[in-house]
Structure formats: C-alpha cells, structure tokens
C-alpha cells in the first residue's frame, strides 16, 4: 500500500500506526458508550397483537369495577422499585414467549422495572431453578412451576413464598381489581392453603382431528366401505384405531396418530393417551403410597395394562420418529399437515392455527373430547388433562416486590385478552371464557372449536388435574418413564413393564418412608 503513494503523500509507518491507533481507540470508546446507553434487550419482535390496555366495554360482563386501570396502578406502586430487575426462568411455551415479546417492554415502560426472561426447555428450567433454590443463589426472582408435585416440593423445601400471604402483607402492591380466584387453574397451584402464584397460562390436552379430511366426501365414502360406519371423531378406542389405520399413508406423508412417547414426556402421556382411563397418581393407592395392585395400588391393574397395550399398539400409526416425539414434535407434526388425528396441547394452537406460520393446518383442526371405555373407567369424570403454569416467587429472590407487580401484570384480564387472541388455545380466566364472547369470536375467526372444548371441559368437570402434590414424585417419575419407554419400544410386554415398575416403585416409596396400607 505504501509503495502506491507518492513520496510526498507517503505517511511514515510509525505515524500511520499512531494516528490509526488513536482513531480505533476513539471509535472503540464511542462504541462502548453507545452500547451502554442502549442497555437492556433489543426491541421485541414477533407476534404483534393489536389490543387496548383497558378492558373493552361491551365484551366484558361482570367483574369488579375499579377506578383506573392496572397500568396506572403499577406506575404508582412501582415507584420505590424503579431500576430493579426481575429475573425468571421459564419454559419456552407459547404464552411465555408471547409475554416476553409483547408485554415485557410495556411493563418496563410503565414501571421502570426490567424483566429478564430465560425461556428454555422444561428439563433445563427445572434444573436451573432447583439448583438456584437449593443453593439460595438468588439468581432468579420467579420460578416456573407447571406441576403440582413440583409446587409441593418447592413449598415443602421453603423455596417459594405463599402468594396469598405475600399479598396480605403487601396490600399496597396489590391492585384492587386483581381477581386471582377468577383464574381457572388456581386450584392446581394451591397446596396446604398456600398459593404458588397466579397462573399465567392454562390450556388442555385433547384429541384433535383434520376437519377437511373428515368431511371429505371421498374419504367418508371409502371409510364407510371399509369399516361399515360413518367417519366422525372417535368415541371408543376401536374407532380411534380404525381411523388411525385408515389415515396412515406414509407415501402421502399422512398419519393417523400422534402422541409424545419421548422419555421426558411419556409419564404425562400416560394420563391422557387412550381411553380416558389414565392412571392417576402413578396408580398409587388412595391411602398408603403403594403402586402395586397387591398393595392396593393400580399401576399394574388390568386397566393400566390394557391402556399400555393400546398405547403401544397405536404407535405404529404415527409418523417416523414418533418414539422420540415430545409435546413440541406433536404440535409441529400437526402444523405440518401430517396428522389426521392425534393428541396435542392446545398451547400449540398459537402456531397451528396461524395461517402465516402453518398454512397446512390453519383452519382445519378441530378438537374432540377423548373417548372412554366404561369397563376400564376408573374415575367418574376426568377425561382431559388440564395444564397450567405459574411463576412462583422465590424466597431467595432479590426483587420480590417487583416480581409481585410483574406477576399481576402478566395475569391481569387485559393481558389475558391479548394472550387469548395471540395464542389461540389458552384460557386462564373464567370471566373471559364464560363472561365474554371472546372465545366464540376466536373459534369463528380461526375455524376451530378449541375454546368451545375448553369451556365444555371446565364446565362439565372433565378436566383432570396435574400430578399429585408429592415432593418425592420425581423419583417415581424417574422409575416410571424407563419402563414405559421399554414397553413403547416393545422390549418388554406391557404386563412386565408395569408389574416391574410397580414393584420398583413400591420398594422406593418404602425406602423413603412412605407408609403402606398396613400403616392405617
């Protein structure tokens, strides 16, 4: 480079380095100053939902009438806590992601409180928060909890605060219009009279089917010719199986069944997969904490064995790789238009019913109530698994007041309206589900019946709750999934799997000091 310049213009190398270095240093300082001035996370992108921040008159009936809205309240109440940061780790669910992209920045704008959300896979979330809680690290102010046994464990270990007590002690931070009992899943997160927190998400796991395929005249004709009855959503296991068989066409990349037999998910699947005779409590006896049939449990009962046989049998009608499917893979398969009928969590409707994200499935997916076999029916009503999530306040958290304010904002009616519109399959508040026509409007708009199904499930008491609140449940779950995946892979028979599992589980509960029936 230097040789191309004339003698007059040649810059001595040393001078060049001197001035060049100074320029780089100035640029570096300027860049650092610019970045420091920016701070925080970049502007949120993704789903944009137009909504107002006050309750729209005409769509709400009933509910408390409070002067001013929550944003005004938060702006005042957050005064002493401006500049603080609320840190939480949560599963990357549709609702969590929506709140992160659409409400976090608004909350910071109103209150001056920053919210940092780590959205991860479920396994990672549990690991990080348990380690933080156990070490009292204070890295997080809110812990994600989606199962009752996790809640029980956190409460029993004194890792989280009772939301009711905290609200009572900090009345100045509680918006008078905040109605926590309006939240449908509150009962799931109540333990010994304590509340883990207001649930920010609630959805169901149910059977869905392709409306376009089920209503296609050619399909209907062919089905009737083959099986002798009119094609419609299954009402028994045999009907489900026949539909699955009919629609399994690998050459067309179409399959008649999907579920989530992945090792992490299969214990949850056992509650809901086929027949409605899911085994609650891991088959534990009502009294006595024993899973084996001979000890009063039901894990290796005839109903459980029949269920597992059918579960394993249906796997042949799923897409390739089904044995490894998680709840996300289920949703993705349905969104890709590969599934004629199957199981899904309605939280996935956020993209399944989005015409831009999933053109192959949007407007084509309908929900149906799972079928039941009376002779194996072990409970009178629960058929649909109700799932929910809450952000519980960590005892070791550094910004409890700020976290308490964020929790209210994330679960208030105004926010939930936006969440229902964006996520298309979530319904945490009774007042919105039953007191407005929002659910019907969304169903009509997206050509589905998910809100009608959620309404029916909650109204008729069809929802079964999550796992029982038992702090040592992860130990049982760890034993359970191993035997279930072995049976799903056909390495052992369902009888052997459940019998061995029940024996191991009983041995474990006994070693942990849980009483059996003889103790009563």
């Amino acid at each position: 480079m230097f040789c191309l310049l004339s003698e007059e213009k040649k810059v001595a190398r040393r001078q060049f380095l001197k001035y060049g270095g100074a320029a780089v240093a100035v640029a570096g300082v300027a860049a650092v100053g610019y970045m420091a001035g920016q701070g925080g996370a970049p502007a949120p992108t993704g789903t944009t939902v137009t909504e107002t921040n006050t309750v729209t008159a005409g769509t709400m009936t009933g509910g408390p009438q409070v002067e001013g809205n929550i944003e005004d309240f938060l702006a005042k109440a957050s005064g002493p806590y401006k500049g603080q940061t609320v840190r939480l780790v949560s599963e990357s669910t549709a609702s969590g992601m929506w709140l992160n992209e659409n409400k976090r920045a608004r909350f910071e704008e109103i209150t001056g409180i920053k919210v940092e959300m780590e959205l991860l896979g479920w396994d990672d979330v549990m690991r990080k928060q348990l380690l933080d809680a156990q070490q009292k690290g204070g890295a997080y102010d809110l812990y994600y909890i989606d199962e009752a046994e996790i809640m029980a464990s956190r409460f029993d270990n004194d890792y989280i605060l009772d939301w009711y007590m905290y609200a009572d002690q900090h009345k100045d931070l509680l918006w008078p219009g905040f109605n926590v009992t309006d939240l449908i899943p509150v009962k799931y997160f109540t333990y010994k009279g304590m509340l883990a927190g207001p649930p920010f998400e609630h959805f169901i796991r149910t059977i869905v089917y392709r409306k376009d395929l089920f209503e296609d005249p050619t399909e209907k004709q062919n089905f009737k010719a083959k099986y002798g009855w009119d094609l419609r959503p299954a009402q028994t296991y045999d009907e489900y199986r026949q539909i699955a068989e009919f629609f399994t066409r690998p050459d067309q990349d179409l399959y008649g069944h999907v579920c989530m037999p992945n090792s992490m998910c299969i214990p949850c699947d056992m509650y809901t997969a086929t027949g409605g005779y899911g085994i609650m409590n891991y088959g534990l006896a009502t009294l006595g904490y024993r899973a084996g049939y001979k000890n009063g449990g039901r894990l290796d009962s005839l109903g459980a064995i029949a269920w597992l046989h059918r579960y394993v049998d249906l796997l042949q009608y799923g897409p390739p790789g089904l044995a490894n499917f998680t709840w996300d893979d289920e949703g993705a398969s349905i969104a890709a238009g590969r599934i004629a009928q199957g199981w899904v969590f309605t939280e996935n409707f956020a993209y399944i019913q989005d015409p831009e994200k999933s053109p192959k499935s949007a407007g084509k997916i309908l929900c149906t109530i799972p079928h039941v076999e009376p002779k194996f029916y072990t409970y009178s009503t629960p058929l649909i698994y109700g799932d929910a999530g809450v952000w519980a306040m960590a005892r070791s958290g550094q910004a409890k007041e700020a976290a308490f304010l964020w929790n209210q904002y994330a679960t208030c009616t105004e926010t939930q309206i936006g969440q229902m519109k964006a996520c298309k399959g979530l319904a945490p508040r009774s007042s919105l589900l039953y007191g407005t026509t929002l659910g019907e409007e969304l169903d009509a708009k997206y050509g589905t019946n998910v809100y009608a199904t959620i309404k029916r499930a909650t109204r008729e008491g069809l929802l079964m709750g999550p796992f029982p609140p038992m702090a040592d449940e992860p130990v049982g779950r760890d034993i359970l999934w191993k035997h279930l995946v072995d049976a799903a892979a056909k390495k052992v028979t369902p009888e052997d799997a459940l019998t061995t599992c029940a024996n191991e589980m009983d041995e474990k509960w006994k070693s942990l000091g849980y009483p059996d029936l003889k103790g009563y």
């Binding site: 464990s153 897409p319 490894n324 034993i479 995946v485």
Partner: protein, 286 residues
C-alpha cells in the same frame, strides 16, 4: 534441603490439583453413603452402604453397565480393524495423500455434542438424508427411533466415525516405526501379506494396539454427549448406557445419594482400566 527443593516447588501445583481432583471425589464419596433426594424436604441422612447394596440388585444399573460394556467392545473392535486398515492406507504414497490425511482427521476436531447433533439430523427418519437414500436406492428402512438394533448400530457408527482417525494415527505411528530392513527381508523371503501382518506388524505394534484399546475403551465407556444428542438413550433402554442413566437419575429423579454411589462405581471401573493400561504399557516396554 536442596535435595528436596524440587519437591517443594511442586507443592503449589500439586495442592491445586489435589483440591480440584480429590475434593469432589471425596465429597461424592460422602454423598454416596447418604440418602438425599433434592426435591424432598427431608434432609440428607446417612444410610451406610444401603445405596451400594441397592445398586448390586438394580436391574437398571446392571443393564446400563452391560450395554455400556457391549457398546465399548464393539466400537473398539471396529475402530481397531478400520484404524489398522486406514493406517496402512495413510502410509502409502499417492496423489492427494496429504489432503486425505487432513480430511480423515477432521472428525477429531468436532465437539462431541456437535457430532451427536449432526448424526441425529443425518439419521433421523423422515428428515435425514441417510435413511432417505438407503430407502430409495437399497430399499433399506433405517429407523433408529423405532428399531433397537438400528439405534445401537447407529451409535457404534457414530463413535467409529468420530474416533477412527485417532486410532488410525496411533497405529500409524507404530507402523511407521517398524524398521525397514525387517520389512525388506520379509519381502525378499516372499512372506505373504497375511503372514507379514501376523508375524511382523501386529507383534511390533502391540503397544499401540493396547493403547488404543484401553484409551478408547475408557472413553467409550464414559460416552454421554453424543448418545444423549443422537438417541437420548432410546428407543426404550437400548442406548441408555451408564452415563445416560446416571444423568437422568440425578438431574431428573434428583436422587443425589444413589447417583453418587453409581458415580463411585463408575470411577472405580475407569481407574481399574487405567491401571490395566499402565501395567500393559510397562510390560510391553520391558
């Protein structure tokens, strides 16, 4: 004093190493004598050798151990055989020899977790190119999520792909060190290739073979990242080796005490393998 000065100078480094290496070991040993489930409100309690007694009768542990040993044995056999062949190829002079060597050793530069991810994408049914081409050209239905045998075979293929270059390079160093006059006189005597292999190469690279067997054996027995990414331990328990089993026990079941006991047994087995390697190397050198 001067005599021991060199030892004194080593004290800081040895102390640091002792702290980093031994402190976790003794803590783990202490945990192995306790019952501690992290999610439970019950505090950790000492239960003596209960965890070790449970371990001996635990079908999950025994099954995972056997599967791990089987995987290691088959994997090492493949790497030995193919490594030997590859070493002979690398020894020859041909056009592109250097490029061949560079390409061959590329897998060694890939992190284990990346290897697992890559193979998962390549082999996943319905997505990966390998099952697609196998089905279209050879009519072979390769589903590692649905077939235990295929999943197990896939893990061996992946491990062999990853570590074959190492085995090849180690054996190449041994083969390259064989005196040329020996090979020339064998050629003059009209020794066949198999005889050369049996009577010249194998005895003279015994040290390298043992080294590969034990080094790779230890690694294969401890494998986790690749297996976790590729199959997650499935289908069923087919690829649920001891490391995967331990991971789920501790970080899903949160049974810390029992997990520590299994870890101690794991460490013991690896130490025994190290000791065998050391003895074998010393003996060969003599």
């Amino acid at each position: 004093m001067a005599k021991f000065r060199s030892w004194y100078l080593l004290v800081p480094a040895v102390s640091l190493l002792a702290f980093i290496d031994l402190a976790p070991f003794f803590y783990g040993l202490d945990l192995s004598f306790q019952r501690w489930i992290m999610t439970s409100p019950n505090p950790p309690t000492y239960v003596g050798f209960y965890n070790y007694g449970f371990l001996v009768n635990d079908s999950e542990f025994l099954g995972a151990f056997v599967r791990g040993v089987t995987f290691a044995a088959i994997s090492i056999a493949c790497q030995l055989l193919l490594g030997l062949g590859t070493a002979f190829i690398m020894l020859r002079k041909f056009r592109g020899n250097v490029a061949f060597k560079v390409i061959l050793t590329l897998p060694l530069a890939v992190a284990p977790i990346a290897v697992g991810s890559m193979w998962r994408i390549m082999m996943y049914p319905g997505i990966g190119p390998i099952p697609y081409y196998l089905k279209h050209f050879l009519g072979i239905h390769w589903d590692m999520t649905g077939s235990s045998a295929i999943a197990f075979a896939t893990t061996i293929m992946m491990d062999t792909w990853h570590w074959l270059p190492l085995a090849a390079l180690i054996m190449l160093s041994g083969i390259a060190g064989i005196p040329q006059p020996l090979l020339e006189s064998a050629a003059i005597d009209g020794v066949s290739i198999l005889q050369k292999l049996r009577f010249i190469y194998l005895p003279l690279i015994k040290f390298e073979i043992i080294f590969v067997v034990l080094l790779r054996g230890m690694d294969a027995f401890r494998i986790f990242d690749e297996i976790w990414m590729l199959t997650g331990g499935g289908p069923g328990n087919t690829t649920r080796f001891l490391s995967v089993s331990l991971y789920t026990l501790i970080l899903r079941g949160w049974d810390i005490g029992y997990g520590a006991a299994i870890s101690m047994v794991y460490v013991y087995v690896i130490i025994v393998m190290c000791w065998i390697l050391y003895q074998a190397v010393m003996r060969v050198r003599e």
